[in-house]
Every structure is written in C-alpha cells, then in structure tokens.
C-alpha cells in the first residue's frame, strides 16, 4: 500500500497551513525521517519529515497553496512496491472553504500515519516519561516499540547506553578529540591565569541602547559579540597574544581569527570567526549567530573549526563569576568571561551599586610574560569601562 503524505496538524489555532515547497520531486528516493516538504504556520516555517522510506510517487498539492490540515498531499511507494496499475482518482486536495470548521476538517482526515516534526508531542508511556525525567534522557531520541506505537521503558535502554551510565565504553569521536586537545594543552603549555574585575555598567547600557536601535531590523548583539569586538581592539595593541606557538616557532598573526567555545549536545565545539578584527559589531553578530547555530546543529565544516588565533569562552550566562580556562593550542591565550552582577562599588569615596563582571586571561608563559599579559587584560578592562565614552567606535578602522 502506498503511504499517504499528510499535512500535519501543527497549529491549534489554524485549520489550514501553507505548503511552501516540496523538497523532493516525484520519482525521488526518500527516507523515513528525511525532510520532505516545508509548511508555514502562523508562527513559523517548518520542515516535515517523510512518513516512510521508498519513492515519492506523486504529489497532489502545489507549492504556495493553502491546504486543510490532515489532507493527503501525496503518496510514497514503499521499498519493493510497484506503482498501482490505475492511478487513484482522489488527486484533488481539498482547498478549504473559508468557513470550514475544524471539526469538518478533522472528519475528512484520513487515519494514516502522521509525521510531526520532533519538537511536537512524543508518545511515551507514563513509565518511560518518568524514567526519562529521572535520568535526563531525551525521549524524542527513542525508537518506539511499545503498544500503539508508544515509547516504553525498554526503548530508553539505547539512550542509557549512549550515556554509558554504569558502563565502560569507548568515548565518542568528538570526546576523543576534546580529550586529546585538553591533554596536549595541559601537558604542553605553561599556563598562567590573570584575573580582574571590570565595571560593566556602561557595557550593559550600551548593549541595551544598541538593542533598542537594531532589534526591529537586525539580530540582537550578545555580550559575547561585544567582547569579540573588544578583544579584537585589544589584540591590535597587544599582538603577542594573537599568536600561535608550534614547536619553537612563534607566529604573530596579522588578522584576529576568534575561536568561540560553544557548548553543544556532542560536547565542546570551538568554531572560528575568521577575520573578526575587520568586522563591525553588526557583522560580528550576524556571522557569530550563523556560526554558533551551525555548531549547535553539528554542521560546521573542518575549515570553520580550525585556524583560530585567540579563544573567547563565556560562562557568564551560567552564573559563573570567573574561572581559569585552558589554552587552546597552538594558540597562546584565552579570555574567560564571567557573569555580570550588581555589586556595591566605591567610586571617589562613595559607595554605588554597579554592574561588575569577572574577566580572566590564561596565557602560555612560554610565549607571553606576565606583564604583557596583564597589560592586555587591563586594556580589555579599560575598553569595557570606556564603552560609554566610545571606546568601541573610536578605534574602528
């Protein structure tokens, strides 16, 4: 039996969705779970997975048309299945009349397999839900084997195994790379960390102002974006920190390629924002956003993950005041950013509530002595505190 392709009931408020485009043509091979078409709801454009593996046999709905949810918009021939001798006669997708109630639309629906993107409801037994909660497992990653297509307790076993709870198992390849690089750094560098605290009140205000200006038309800059800019400016006057050390060869780099520590499902990924020193803040925000999204989705190319000259790691959002990071060889320095918090500060003998931020830089003492490292960090601090007086703009080339 060919498998029906349905418009999923994604929205509780809409009886219809717009089919934006087919991602496959009739005759194309499709795999179950592969994205088959995109739809637009009142909230978002979403890709919908194929309900079966096989060949996309025919489609009944045109792109950019409005279609009632649960309508059949095409058929898939499963593997080994040949085309029906006579084409079924349905073939006209019900385009809803304006007043069609959702009940009516539901009655017309075919009880076939509905494939709903993974952010939608997962069917799991109460027991599986409880255990997933308890062990922090992602139910959406389980393959259902229970009655009525439910995820049951046994389906969580593979997820446990992935997490290796109570089991010895080889590390994932990503973990092995992280492990090797961390050990190289730990054994192969002479790290020294310098810590300071900066007054971030101006920085907070500056960002808020910026957001009020750009938010309607553009992405909102993050503190990380601001620090990329600040670091690029600081590196310009402290080039010995924008360097790599391989064997006995120390290379000072002309361009600042800023590596960003990103926490992903697979572990730490450090994509590189190339030529960051040439970018203005808007460009930094845009490119950083794309890069981080790709890192989170596991889509970074090897090129995007290499070539960094300086690393920034920001744990401020996680409530960490300050920490001592580990150098990312062959780079020689890394900046740690802590959280911004309101604290009492003394200014000219008075006590004020100010926004304070913790900053740390870890440098490889083989390449950088204490004084230049301290001078770099102090410059970062001055840039942070001088944002209100235009420290970021003035130096833009």
């Amino acid at each position: 039996m060919p498998v029906d392709i349905l418009i999923p009931p994604l929205s509780q408020t809409m009886d219809t969705l717009v089919l934006v485009e087919w991602l496959k043509k009739p005759g194309d091979a499709v795999k179950k779970g592969e994205m088959l078409f995109t739809v637009e709801t009142d909230k978002a454009t979403l890709e919908v997975e194929s309900p079966a593996s096989g060949t996309l046999y025919e489609v009944y709905a045109e792109p950019n048309s409005e279609i009632a949810v649960c309508s059949v918009i095409g058929k898939i021939l499963t593997e080994g299945e040949s085309a029906p001798a006579v084409k079924p006669t349905q073939e006209k997708v019900p385009i809803p009349e304006q007043k069609k109630s959702s009940d009516a639309a539901k009655k017309e629906s075919t009880p076939a397999i509905l494939v709903i993107p993974s952010e939608n409801r997962v069917f799991a037994s109460p027991r599986a839900r409880r255990l997933a909660d308890l062990h922090h497992l992602d139910l959406a990653k389980a393959t259902p084997s229970g009655p009525r297509g439910m995820i049951v307790e046994r389906d969580l076993q593979p997820l446990h195994t992935q997490r290796k709870i109570g089991k010895a198992a080889p590390m994932s390849s990503t973990r092995r790379v992280i492990s090797q690089r961390m050990m190289d750094s730990h054994l192969g560098t002479a790290p020294v960390t310098y810590l300071c605290e900066a007054d971030a009140s101006e920085l907070v205000k500056y960002r808020e102002k910026l957001i009020s200006v750009v938010a309607p038309v553009s992405l909102r800059p993050t503190y990380t974006d601001l620090f990329i800019r600040i670091v690029c400016l600081a590196l310009r006057s402290h080039p010995q920190l924008n360097a790599t050390l391989e064997g006995d060869t120390l290379t000072l780099h002309e361009r600042a390629h800023i590596a960003l520590a990103v926490d992903t499902d697979r572990g730490l990924i450090v994509p590189v924002l190339k030529g960051a020193d040439l970018l203005n803040l808007g460009e930094i925000t845009r490119q950083r956003s794309t890069l981080v999204e790709r890192a989170l989705a596991g889509k970074c190319t090897p090129d995007e993950l290499s070539g960094g000259t300086f690393t920034i790691t920001n744990l401020g959002i996680m409530g960490i005041d300050i920490f001592t990071p580990i150098i990312n060889p062959p780079q020689v320095a890394i900046l740690a950013i802590g959280s911004i918090r309101e604290m009492p500060a003394t200014i000219n003998g008075g006590i004020y509530i100010r926004q304070r931020i913790g900053l740390g830089v870890t440098c490889d003492h083989r390449a950088i002595d204490g004084a230049p490292a301290a001078r770099f960090l102090n410059e970062v601090r001055l840039l942070v505190e001088g944002v209100g007086s235009g420290s970021l703009e003035e130096k833009t080339t």
Partner: protein, 337 residues
C-alpha cells in the same frame, strides 16, 4: 498439616468458630437437613450432628427471610454465618444486604453493629444465566460491606474465621468450581485446589493480598478460578520467556492496593482477569486505582480480561466462549509487551 479441599476447609473453620464461640450459628437452605448435601456444595455437611439443628438452622426457601433473620440475630449479639445456595439469589435479599446490614452501624452512630457473615457461591458452572453469575462488582460498590474471595483451602478457612470475628457484615464469595466437593456434588470441569491447612489456629487477615507467582514482565490480578487460569497462562508465557507476576488479592474490600502497586512499580504492566462481566466489575476499580495512583510507573495500557456484557450462556460451547481462558489472558499480556 492436613490436606483439605476448600469445602472441607470452610467446614473446619465453621466448626472451630462454633466450638470457640457459642454465639456463632449457621443459617441457610438445606444446610443441615438429614440426608441432604450439607448446603448446595457440602460445606456444612454433618455439622448438625455435632451442633444440632438449633445452631445449624434450615430455613424455608426465602432468601429475604433468612438474611433478615441473620441480620436481626447479629444486631441482637449473635454471630450468624448465613448461606445462600447460589450467589445469584443474593438479589432476592438486596434490601437486607445493601440498605440494612452495611448501614446500621453508620446510621446508629456506632450503637448497632452487624457482625454477620454471608457466604455465596459464584461462577459459571453450566447452570446458565441465573445460577452462574459473578456478583463481586455489585457488592464491592456498597459502603460498609467487606468482600472477600478465597481461592485456596488455607485462605478459605483463615478468611472465614476472620470474617466471623470481624464485627461487620462480611460477604464471602466462593467459587463453585473450586470447592472440591466430592461424591454426587462433584462438578464437571472443577479444579481441585486441595491444599495444606494447618491444624493449629490461624487467621488470614481481611484486606491482605498475596503474590502467587513472581515475575517482572507484567502483573496479573485475579481471584477464584481466574487465578488458576492466570497461573496456567503464566506457565505458558514462561515457556516463551515472559515471566509474569500473579497476584491474588483475596479481599476485594478492603483491597490490598499497595501489594498491587508495589508489583506495578516493578512490572509497569497490568492485566486484570475476572470472570464477572466486563463493565464495572471489580477489575475496573483496580484499573482506575492503578491509573490514578501509579500512573507514572505504567509502561502500557491497562488490560482487563473479563466475560462480555451478556448473561452467562447455558450451552457449554457458548459458555466456554464467554469465559476468559488461558489463551485470552496470554493474548492480553502479549498485546501490551
């Protein structure tokens, strides 16, 4: 330790209680008549020889009269063990059993108690629509009634003795095919759960269930003949590598919920096997309790294997189709694995 059938164990329990307490007496139809069976299923056979007809009282064929007398005697301080030939006839005494016996303590603010035992045979035994029903669902619904359902000789005696001493009306449902009656009262298709019964005094507390078989794949809950059906089904499932737990609740009111819940926390799957009609049987209550109180431990829908909502058929072929059996239990278990 003597080996006894359920009928013998009940008789032994009655005998001991009558010897222990002179307020205890039996009342029913043809329970002590000379040359009779000792009730329909031999439970009171020969007791009149020891206790005389003043304590083994035969009544006319009037269920409302015998239950009214039993309740009256209980209110007056006696300890009646009333006997009805077929559970189906309890309907003749519904006013006595629902409006009077279980409510007098409540309505009198505790001044009146009704320490009465009502014994009633249930179950399909090729006797058709009016002599083969299971009635547990009707009576588990009545506040103030305790309902027990022994399935072994040990439990039959121990629960009967607890019932006599309880101080409240207790309904004992006994399955016709489990009595192990002998001679002319032998039943076709009967099981003979002859079991060990200690000679020394013991009681089985009302409200305590028991695990009859240990397993991890699913929990079966069953009483009476369905307990044995479930145990046989469990053996066959075990041959396929599926080890199910079998629980005998023994008492339906009060129900040993915690025993069932404890098992469900382990197995995550519940199949209730009952001979009663499906709708609103005691199994429905067990299912509802599990869904309410251990929902987060359930790994599959709750299943009930029960008789369909039609009267028990008289024709043996139809009756066999009507009753739950091993195959139906196995199919239910496999449908949720």
């Amino acid at each position: 330790m003597a080996m006894m059938s359920i009928a013998e164990a009940l008789r032994e329990g009655i005998r001991e209680e009558m010897r222990r307490d002179e307020r205890v007496f039996c009342i029913g139809e043809d329970i002590g008549i000379e040359g009779g069976f000792g009730g329909a299923f031999t439970v009171t056979l020969n007791l009149s020889e020891e206790f005389g007809h003043e304590r083994i009282i035969d009544t006319p064929i009037s269920e409302i009269a015998l239950s009214g007398m039993a309740i009256g005697a209980a209110v007056a301080g006696m300890r009646p063990i009333a006997d009805v030939q077929y559970g189906d006839f309890l309907f003749c005494m519904m006013d006595q059993l629902v409006n009077e016996a279980p409510k007098l303590r409540y309505m009198s603010g505790g001044q009146v108690s009704v320490p009465m035992v009502m014994r009633a045979p249930v179950g399909s035994t090729r006797r058709g629509a009016q002599h083969a029903q299971c009635l547990e669902g009707f009576f588990t619904h009545v506040p103030g009634l305790k309902v027990v359902a022994p399935s072994t000789a040990y439990d039959a005696k121990g629960l009967l003795k607890s019932a006599v001493r309880d101080g409240n009306p207790v309904l004992i449902f006994e399955h016709k095919l489990l009595y192990g009656a002998k001679g002319s009262r032998i039943e076709k298709g009967a099981l003979s759960p002859i079991g060990e019964v200690p000679e020394e005094e013991y009681l089985v507390p009302i409200g305590k269930g028991i695990v009859r078989r240990n397993g991890t794949a699913a929990t079966l809950v069953a009483i009476h003949r369905m307990l044995y059906t479930s145990l046989s089904a469990a053996d066959r499932l075990a041959e396929k590598g599926v080890e199910v737990e079998v629980i005998d609740p023994r008492s339906l009111v009060p129900l040993d919920k915690e025993l069932i819940f404890e098992s469900l926390r382990k197995t995550g799957r519940l199949v209730i096997v009952e001979e009663d009609n499906l709708t609103n049987g005691w199994g429905a209550e067990v299912a509802a309790l599990a869904a309410d109180e251990v929902f987060e431990y359930l790994d599959a829908p709750i299943k009930r294997v029960a008789s369909p909502d039609v009267p028990p058929p008289f024709a043996p072929i139809l009756e066999a189709e009507y009753l739950p059996n091993e195959n139906k239990v196995i199919a239910a278990v496999e449908s949720i694995l």
